[in-house]
């Protein structure tokens, strides 16, 4: 079959498989829906969390609220960038947006470990508790990143690796924010390392598995 004939045959097949489609909502709307799910999870956690103690910890030192704000902004901007990069023709520069808040998040968390004065209202972290944090971060991130990947697969990520990486970063940031609700301890180096390992593991997992999820199930 000549190339023109095979193209015509393909066009015929594609036209035959055409179904009316609904234009996907704008990336910010899709991001907002995911953020609503994260907020719902936060509301559930707030029922078991000591909110006054949480607010006291946040305001006790600048690094606390800065790391929280950084993680939250990273989650929102990375999710938005992931949705943005899942649409053909949208600039990939959007992927750079979460970098600044991610730096604030990591920087403030590191500064918290270096702080000489202990945090008012924080209790000493029991030994091996960092592993509990690791479990929490992984268990919360997996459904969040799965949801995000599922929504991203509805679009057509042309850079699946980048989109999946951003989805992982968004979920890790959101999971970190949720953890802080029930984490009444001052920052320690062990804690920071475990959090960092968890975040990197989530990003790596998403980067490895995401592109497979983005592949079309069936070709026309």
């Amino acid at each position: 079959m000549s190339d023109t004939a095979s193209q015509e045959a393909l066009i015929g097949r594609l036209c035959g498989a055409l179904r009316p489609v609904r234009v996907l909502p704008a990336p910010w709307k899709r991001t907002a829906l995911w953020v609503v799910v994260v907020l719902a999870a936060a509301l559930l956690l707030a029922r078991v969390a000591d909110l006054p103690s949480y607010l006291a910890r946040l305001t006790a030192a600048p690094d606390m609220w800065l790391s929280q704000a950084g993680a939250a902004a990273t989650a929102v901007l990375a999710a938005w960038a992931a949705f943005q990069t899942s649409i053909p023709g949208r600039p990939a520069r959007a992927a750079l947006l979460p970098l600044a808040p991610a730096l604030v998040w990591v920087g403030a968390s590191t500064a918290g470990c270096l702080r000489l004065t202990p945090l008012a209202g924080a209790v000493p972290e029991p030994p091996m508790h960092a592993l509990e944090c690791l479990k929490f971060l992984l268990l919360v991130s997996v459904p969040l990143v799965s949801l995000l990947t599922w929504r991203l697969a509805c679009a057509c990520p042309l850079r699946p690796g980048l989109t999946a990486l951003l989805a992982g970063l968004a979920s890790a940031g959101a999971a970190s924010c949720l953890l802080s609700l029930i984490h009444p301890f001052d920052a320690t180096a062990e804690d920071l390392l475990v959090h960092l390992a968890a975040v990197l593991a989530i990003i790596a997992l998403s980067r490895a598995a995401g592109p497979r999820m983005f592949k079309p199930r069936r070709r026309p």
């Binding site: 594609l14 996907l24 053909p88 057509c156």
Partner: protein, 177 residues
């Protein structure tokens, strides 16, 4: 494109047909080899079909199509790069490769050597010729040869080694005797 998104097949066909030359030209500009351009175009058409819902009718169509083409062209170039790294195209190597089966010159040389050996055997004394024919050429054992000729094993052995020495001398030191 808006009509295509609503399910209008004729409009969709027109969009896809119009996309073919645009995608082909963009792929060629990106350095996709001519024999791969059609594959890229087909990949672009498939991606357009899959990404139909991502097109925003409020935005221009061409940047959307171009973005798809660029990615598919990059994929094709990467695939090409990988296969070039694994496979070597060297027609001269095929021509210069020595054939493993013997050629007609080798066969002629072997026939000539065989004739020389036959002639040399024919000039041997009768006892030596008999020993070399039975033991060397027919590969019989000393016992069998002794039974056939009526000679002793020792006499056969002596005649056989004398025949070998004579043949080596006549065929030359590099002879295959």
């Amino acid at each position: 494109m808006r009509s295509a998104q609503a399910g209008d097949r004729a409009a969709y066909q027109a969009v896809l047909r119009a996309s073919v030359p645009v995608a082909a030209a963009a792929a060629r500009r990106m350095g996709v080899p001519p024999d791969v351009v059609d594959d890229v175009v087909q990949e672009v058409l498939l991606t357009v079909h899959r990404a139909l819902a991502t097109y925003d009718p409020a935005r221009p169509f061409l940047p959307w199509l171009r973005a798809i083409t660029v990615r598919r062209a990059i994929d094709a170039l990467r695939r090409g790069g990988r296969s070039r790294a694994r496979e070597v195209h060297d027609p001269d190597a095929y021509l210069n490769h020595a054939e493993e089966t013997p050629d007609m010159y080798d066969a002629a040389e072997k026939l000539r050597e065989a004739d020389r050996l036959k002639a040399a055997i024919a000039t041997l004394p009768p006892r030596q010729r008999e020993a070399i024919e039975i033991i060397g050429l027919r590969e019989h054992t000393l016992e069998q040869a002794a039974g056939q000729t009526g000679s002793t094993k020792g006499a056969l052995k002596v005649n056989f080694f004398r025949a070998l020495q004579s043949l080596r001398t006549r065929m030359g030191s590099d002879g295959d005797v």
